[in-house]
């Protein structure tokens, strides 16, 4: 769990709940390259992407993390995490870095300011029942590259995408006590089973 800033504590609780159901995962906070090296998969939380981008630099974590993701580390980015995983950021600071791990163009705060936050039920590929999604200053996906699969849409716009071992969504799956997206990531992408893998 990337733990520089933002909603990481709630994600860690979701991982703990899944571990309690018998899924072989263990959530640990990651603030340094040494902690990253111990992980088999990574979740990047919502928060402020501008701030996280700077803290990735100051913690000397940007380069090792980029290398790990491009080397196949399974990663799930939510809200700000999606922005960091994208290949191009619109309406961000010109010096804001992204990992170019998911070939999408994202617009920051595409769904409006804080007061325009909303909740909605989304149909998600791989889930039988709709998922209750909370959008807060959420990024919008404006362009999709080849090989990017849309996993969920809201009003015809993609809000959850996957490419290989990289999964990202515009909303905050950690704010509800519904752990199905965490399970989806951990089982289908990170390959967690009942026999031993540590998850960051």
């Amino acid at each position: 769990m990337l733990a520089l800033q933002g909603a990481f504590a709630l994600h860690l609780q979701a991982i703990d709940r899944l571990a309690a159901t018998g899924l072989a995962v263990r959530g640990v906070p990651v603030k340094t390259a040494a902690e990253l090296a111990e992980c088999d998969a990574l979740i990047m939380p919502g928060g402020e992407s501008t701030t996280m981008s700077m803290l990735l630099d100051s913690q000397e974590l940007f380069a090792p993390l980029k290398k790990a993701i491009h080397g196949g580390l399974p990663v799930f980015g939510t809200c700000a995490g999606m922005i960091l995983l994208s290949s191009e950021i619109l309406d961000g600071r010109s010096d804001q870095n992204c990992f170019e791990a998911l070939d999408i163009k994202v617009r920051r705060n595409a769904y409006g300011a804080q007061v325009e936050s909303f909740e909605t039920a989304l149909s998600v590929d791989g889930l039988d029942e709709p998922f209750h999604a909370v959008f807060i200053r959420a990024p919008g996906v404006e362009a999709l590259g080849a090989g990017v699969e849309v996993v969920s849409k809201h009003q015809e716009e993609p809000v959850m995408c996957r490419s290989g071992s990289v999964l990202a969504c515009s909303f905050h799956p950690e704010l509800t006590n519904d752990d199905r997206l965490h399970r989806l990531f951990l089982e289908s992408i990170a390959g967690a089973t009942s026999s031993g893998k540590a998850t960051g």
Partner: protein, 277 residues
């Protein structure tokens, strides 16, 4: 989404840029930082919308602004400006000596100050989405923030050990709604994020409040009343991130120049923390 971060008071777009560059998670747009409000005296009010809009245009991080306690029209104006959060703040001169703003009437989230758990729960029952311990703003003296944090978190700890009958007594003592007391007894934490404000002047101050249990810190006068604001801002951000690591705290505290000049509590004419009911 402001947890684990630093929210900095700024009075113009240039300062907002410095704050964002340093890694602030949000900025608080206000006309004068608390230490200047303290020095100048007079009635302190909501900032000029022009100044707030200038800051909104400059940064990509969230922008907060302050309304006076009970001044629901200032809050309506701030909401119409699309600020990301409103701080119903004791740093400004209160507009109502009995009532706080009915925050349920707004879409924009509110943060409110508290000196103790009862005050925190009353603010939450009025619709606050975040609580910050008040401390004593504009003093550069951490002692009041420490008192308030310890009081709030200490009482939360005691309530988790209270039996059901004692929870009624807690609600009565705290002058707070029983359902919120019962919720705390079950979860062991406030139902909203708990931040710290008021008197944070150094990286070590920020790290101490985080170790005490704050989830983020507000720094008002501490940044832009120091001798090297850009460096101080960055150091406080680093300290808030690495708050448990004394070696990093030592490194970021080194050679920062002068922190803001602080004030002793006994010398204060106005105790802002006493505003709020």
């Amino acid at each position: 989404m402001l947890k684990g971060g630093v929210i900095m008071d700024v009075v113009n777009p240039e300062q907002a840029k410095i704050a964002e560059d340093a890694g602030a998670v949000a900025v608080m747009a206000l006309e004068r930082v608390p230490s200047d409000i303290r020095r100048d005296g007079g009635v302190s009010r909501m900032s000029d919308p022009e100044m707030i809009m200038g800051i909104q245009e400059t940064v990509t991080i969230p922008v907060m602004a302050k309304a006076r306690i009970g001044h629901f029209v200032e809050a309506q104006i701030l909401e119409s400006l699309n600020v990301d959060y409103i701080d119903e703040s004791e740093v400004l001169t209160p507009a109502d000596e009995t009532h706080h703003i009915d925050k349920w009437a707004f879409t924009v989230p509110f943060v409110c100050g508290a000196t103790n758990l009862g005050e925190a729960l009353r603010r939450i029952s009025e619709g606050a989405c975040m609580i910050r311990s008040k401390g004593e703003a504009g003093t550069g003296n951490i002692v009041e923030a420490t008192r308030h944090l310890r009081s709030i978190l200490g009482d939360i700890g005691k309530i988790t050990k209270a039996d059901k009958a004692e929870q009624f007594e807690w609600a009565k003592q705290l002058q707070a709604p029983l359902p919120l007391v019962q919720e705390i007894a079950e979860t062991g934490e406030l139902p909203v994020p708990m931040f710290c404000a008021g008197g944070i002047a150094t990286p070590a101050d920020a790290a101490m409040t985080m170790q005490l249990g704050a989830q983020s810190v507000f720094v008002g006068s501490g940044i832009f009343k120091s001798s090297d604001p850009a460096r101080m801002a960055e150091a406080v951000v680093q300290a808030t991130l690495n708050y448990k690591d004394p070696a990093i705290l030592a490194k970021v505290s080194t050679g920062l120049g002068d922190a803001m000049k602080g004030l002793e509590m006994a010398t204060l004419e106005t105790k802002m923390a006493e505003r709020g009911w």
